[in-house]
Symmetry: C2
């Protein structure tokens, strides 16, 4: 397997990307290809004292930043890490592309270079969210690939998410809930009411609405949402988590007594941090593209990069992309919509 990683994507690139790649490469037989300016990446590999043989460099001289318009930069910067990586996936020179760079550019390049799977209206970003109940994590999608929402997209998220969780976790009929402003059926705006109806009719284990408050406590395998709400949900939760953990860190180092207390409770506090820690879940797949593309958090460091690479392997081995393509072609509702030209609108 050839795992491509964007050496220039994210806040701590290229240093942390290369460090994470070196750490992962020492444990696997697969080849890791780092995309970026050759000299710069080689320099970082030297810093890490890399002597192995399963890391390659693919020279890519351009970088697309978060401030650029995705569509335009993808068209113009042919030698950027993202566009070059996407072309390598298309040409069979890589099995999966991982990037911590601009989500917009990654999506735009994915759509332009790889294209959508037949029958899929919009790709979706699927991220793991910590869950306190057994199971330990819930798949949330869409986390912000599509900001303009339609019931069909939310419905397709239910199908893609079900296939993904079945492949990765081995759960035969993963349960799906719809993120909504009330738990009862009939809640929400027209978009979510219609999405509820479509999900109810779908050949998946759809079990109803879930409120934002309840996701963290677990209770279902997949939460589907439109990209706008999903993004608000994910970032609000993250903000609150960061704020509370930050307060504990600050307050428990104020004064000798509290410090002593925190030291005694240290192992337990570490356990709590672990529960809400996202660093080992791996990168978030962009489902619905004709190829395996994973999005890392922009602030990823060595640990996150390491896990992104390690978790990419079962993702490719399980051929999630192929499974989604197959399920969609089997699914009458999607095919019917496809034949009426329903997925042509964003071309």
């Amino acid at each position: 397997m050839r795992i491509l990683i964007d050496g220039m994507g994210g806040d701590y690139a290229p240093q942390e990307i290369v460090k994470g790649a070196v750490k992962a490469a020492a444990e696997i037989d697969d080849i890791i290809v780092i995309l970026g300016p050759e000299d710069l990446i080689r320099e970082q590999l030297d810093v890490c004292r890399w002597k192995g043989s399963n890391i390659e460099i693919m020279n890519a001289t351009e970088v697309i930043s978060n401030d650029e318009t995705p569509a335009m930069s993808v068209r113009k910067k042919k030698d950027s890490t993202i566009v070059k990586g996407m072309n390598m996936i298309k040409n069979g020179e890589g099995d999966v592309l991982i990037s911590g760079g601009s989500t917009g550019a990654l999506l735009a390049a994915g759509l332009v270079v790889l294209g959508r799977l037949k029958g899929i209206k919009r790709p979706a970003i699927a991220a793991w969210f910590p869950a306190l109940a057994e199971g330990g994590s819930t798949l949330l999608l869409d986390c912000g690939a599509n900001v303009e929402a339609k019931p069909e997209y939310v419905y397709q998220n239910g199908i893609m998410g079900s296939i993904f969780v079945r492949a990765i976790k081995g759960i035969e009929e993963p349960s799906v809930k719809l993120l909504n402003i009330g738990a009862e059926a009939g809640k929400g705006d027209e978009l979510h009411k219609e999405a509820f109806r479509m999900l109810s009719d779908a050949d998946i284990n759809f079990v109803g609405n879930i409120e934002g408050r309840d996701v963290i406590f677990g209770g279902c395998d997949i939460v589907v949402t439109d990209g706008f709400s999903g993004n608000i949900f994910l970032k609000s939760s993250e903000g609150m988590s960061l704020a509370i953990m930050g307060q504990f860190k600050k307050k428990l180092t104020e004064g000798v007594v509290a410090k002593a207390g925190a030291m005694l409770a240290y192992s337990k506090i570490k356990e709590i941090k672990k529960v809400f820690d996202y660093s080992d879940v791996g990168a978030a797949p962009i489902l619905g593209l004709k190829g395996a593309v994973l999005k890392m958090h922009g602030n990823s460091t060595e640990t996150e990069v390491y896990y992104a690479i390690k978790k990419a392997i079962p993702y490719v081995n399980n051929d999630v992309t192929g499974m989604i393509a197959e399920a969609v072609s089997r699914n009458n509702v999607l095919s019917a919509k496809k034949e009426t030209g329903g997925d042509e609108e964003d071309k």
Copy 2:
């Protein structure tokens, strides 16, 4: 001042409502009117050994539950605590109505009995959200009054919120941000892009977008949003807060060493809980109605009821309703839209 409180609204009614009312009544000169079945409320007052003279009971024999369709139950249950309370506000027999009951019923009754202020398209629920930066709280609206979103509603939320924060906090030009999926201008779906443009042109201190992650860290006085996103934001944040605090409570009582540590750090842990504690902020006003209506959380207990009553007093004294009415009539954009019949659609 006559403060009306729904004795039957919320998970712990009537016991906790009456307890909170008794606690508040002992500290104020204003009259508190508890709505509910007379015998039941009197019984609870006896349990609290109430001997004062500033609590009255208004007999209301019906209750609207959360499971009922708001519009229909408001039409049918004329003797419900919510409909009766709303009529008392209309007839000048009360200055403010506080309820922990069904949000939908409260809104429907507000619209039917009181009606909207001239020029206001939709009322909005405005709640205080904790903020770590100086100031200590951010006003968030709409928190779920309107699930069907339009840019004009979000824009009016900016105006109503500015008037409210000016009145309550005395900030001359409170800063307003728009909850969005990115901080840069031009982010979001069409609805939020248009809302951004309208807010930019408004005669308020609008300073741009804010992401869900950043609200808790403060940095602005008011965050405006559509009701769907606002509800998702609020409940996600609340869920994460409950989950983390719950984990600390659980883990720090596991084993003697951690327990000892937690005891040493006790005062600091209490300080942290205080930062994220919502119980003393008071109830959330429904802005835009022709009368003062406050929504308490459904799980309110004595403390929340007590603060809801205490904080209702400056709310009424500052005549927020009158100020919004005046500002809207002065505002050309709103008036223009009003004249074209733009606010007639939900009649």
